[in-house]
């Protein structure tokens, strides 16, 4: 699905990312972790095509070299970290915006059906007629999540890459779990997801692969049990961290003493 080979990214002559190598397959859920300024959002910028790598090779299974921006957008969607919208759209209208790259490719009924499905998956179907600007930050985040899902046909059709920038940052516990379970289910059905997360325990619980970034470089890449270790986490976050292996049978739990 996605291949990064010794990729670097520079901003104002400063290297903010890399060299980084990473390979992701369809159906994998990759969580990107790291301290503030470690390069997590820069990695998403690269993957979403907002920035081009300074060196190295970045390739997608759905891009053949002659693709247009619109064709890429049919396979790749980004849920941004900030959700402000200056104009007074309804929730349904915002989610419908996700259908923009598919305009003319299916009829209005299918657009509506996929919009409804995305709204239902994010738990926002009952809010579909509400004004977006009047929602709380967490509700707006769920609407943006639904928009990204609508853009990817809710995972239908294969070769879909979902990029999420802190999707759970403003959600309460219930919806953190709902959104993460939804991502897990979509990945089990073949979607590929890269999510920047701050909650290490959510990453440990749901992700297949962890990319632990430290000052733009990969401190570790691998399964949660391999990467979420006390020395690595303590080094990356510059904080003493305890990893409890005996709380859950199949995954580590991270605590701060």
């Amino acid at each position: 699905m996605l291949e990064l080979d010794q990729v670097t990214l520079f901003r104002q002559q400063r290297q903010v990312l890399g060299p980084l190598s990473l390979s992701l397959k369809s159906g994998q859920f990759c969580a990107v972790l790291g301290a503030n300024g470690a390069g997590k959002s820069s990695l998403l910028s690269l993957l979403s095509g907002l920035d081009a790598p300074a060196s190295g090779r970045l390739s997608f299974a759905f891009a053949n070299g002659r693709h247009t921006i619109r064709q890429l957008a049919q396979h790749r969607a980004l849920m941004p970290q900030f959700h402000a919208l200056g104009f007074d759209f309804s929730v349904r209208e915002v989610v419908m915006l996700g259908r923009t790259p598919h305009h003319g490719m299916c009829d209005a009924k299918d657009h509506r059906k996929l919009t409804d499905k995305a709204l239902a998956l994010s738990g926002m179907l009952d809010f579909s007629g509400r004004r977006y600007t009047r929602l709380s930050g967490g509700q707006q985040a769920r609407v943006q999540f639904a928009r990204a899902l609508a853009q990817l046909n809710c995972g239908e059709g294969g070769d879909k890459l979902l990029l999420l920038d802190e999707p759970t940052a403003s959600l309460d516990l219930r919806y953190q779990l709902l959104i993460m379970k939804c991502i897990r289910q979509l990945c089990d059905a073949g979607l590929c997801c890269v999510a920047v997360l701050h909650d290490i325990n959510l990453a440990a619980q749901f992700a297949d692969l962890i990319v632990l970034l430290d000052q733009g470089k990969a401190a570790a890449v691998g399964a949660p049990s391999e990467t979420l270790t006390e020395p690595l986490l303590s080094r990356v976050f510059q904080l003493p961290v305890r990893v409890l292996d005996n709380v859950f049978p199949d995954r580590p739990m991270i605590a701060m003493p």
């Binding site: 095509g49 921006i69 619109r70 969607a77 980004l78 104009f87 759209f89 923009t100």
Partner: protein, 334 residues
């Protein structure tokens, strides 16, 4: 809870009816008014009457010009507000209307007694295009492109206003009257010749902008998100700003600067049809000509046989509305 249910078709119908009524009113009112029946009589009669000549040569081109100017200004206004993601943006934001007026004023003041009726619209149109090209060609970094475009537009508007002020200062009485036309606008110079070239130039730009509703909706999410929706943001912005400049340049070239139409109409319509540009653009195509027609009919009848510059009336309506908007915004943010 369902907040809104837009009855777009019904609203389009009402707006079309309003436009039709205002067009008929405009066609049948004036110093030679009579009533609609005497106008129809004059038109169907085989004898050439003054009323029929007035209709064909003065009133009809004036109404058609109002339709053209209104649509051009409103569609450009809607587009500018979406591109700048700011509901307070107006069509002349990148300096196109003041650039047009400055170019026309320069010709008027430098050669006040020449007959430049044919040349002025062309000069004004080129002035508009030049101002926008100047703004677009300025090297700015991608990160703060919109803020830079906005500031450059403000700078060009300020320089053009200063230029117009200076030209008014050095102009003689004769040139000063012509300058008033460009600064406050008038549909009084409508002619079939001007309409022919103006429509030929503005129609492709207007038609293209009318088809961009979905792209404009996407832009409202911000440039990064719009890119992720498959929109080539930079290319679209350049094309859209040039198309707006063509629309505004043509409108100013034919009718001078008519303020507030491009600002007020999109706002009014958002209250009725919502912010979705696929509905807003066609609605503004009906509503803005109606506003321009109403203002023009008032402008030429309230002090008849003299004529008020139409820009004064639209500003008189638009100014208080603008203050109302600012009050609403501060109330919402409080």
């Amino acid at each position: 809870m369902i907040v809104r249910d837009y009855h777009s078709t019904k609203i389009y119908g009402i707006l079309a009816l309003l436009l039709l009524t205002l067009s008929v009113t405009a066609l049948s009112s004036g110093p030679l008014a009579g009533n609609i029946i005497s106008l129809v009589d004059a038109l169907v009669s085989e004898d050439a009457s003054i009323l029929a000549a007035t209709f064909w040569q003065l009133r009809l081109p004036r109404v058609v010009l109002a339709l053209m100017v209104g649509s051009a200004l409103a569609v450009a206004g809607v587009t500018m507000q979406a591109i700048f993601r700011n509901p307070l943006a107006e069509p002349g934001l990148t300096g196109s209307s003041s650039g047009a007026a400055l170019a026309a004023a320069t010709v008027i003041v430098l050669a006040p007694y020449e007959n430049h009726a044919a040349m002025l619209p062309l000069v004004a149109f080129l002035g508009a295009l030049l101002a926008t090209l100047l703004v677009l060609s300025f090297p700015v970094s991608a990160g703060d492109q919109m803020a830079s475009l906005l500031l450059l537009g403000i700078a060009i508007n300020a320089v053009s206003s200063a230029g117009l002020g200076f030209l008014s200062f050095v102009a003689d009485d004769f040139a000063l009257r012509s300058l008033t036309f460009w600064q406050f606008g008038s549909l009084g110079k409508a002619s079939w010749e001007d309409l022919a070239w103006a429509t030929a130039i503005a129609s492709p730009a207007l038609g293209w902008l009318l088809c961009q509703g979905r792209v404009l909706n996407g832009l409202l999410l911000g440039e990064r998100d719009a890119h992720c929706l498959g929109i080539d943001v930079h290319r679209f912005k350049v094309c859209a700003l040039l198309a707006c400049s063509v629309c505004v340049g043509t409108a100013v070239a034919c009718a001078g600067i008519i303020g507030f139409v491009g600002l007020v109409v999109p706002h009014l319509l958002r209250l009725v049809v919502g912010p979705d540009h696929t509905r807003l653009l066609p609605a503004s195509l009906l509503a803005a000509p109606a506003l321009v027609l109403a203002a023009d009919t008032l402008a030429r009848t309230v002090v008849s046989p003299a004529e008020l510059p139409i820009g004064i009336l639209t500003a008189l309506l638009g100014g208080p509305f603008f203050i109302y908007l600012l009050l609403q915004r501060s109330r919402t943010s409080a």
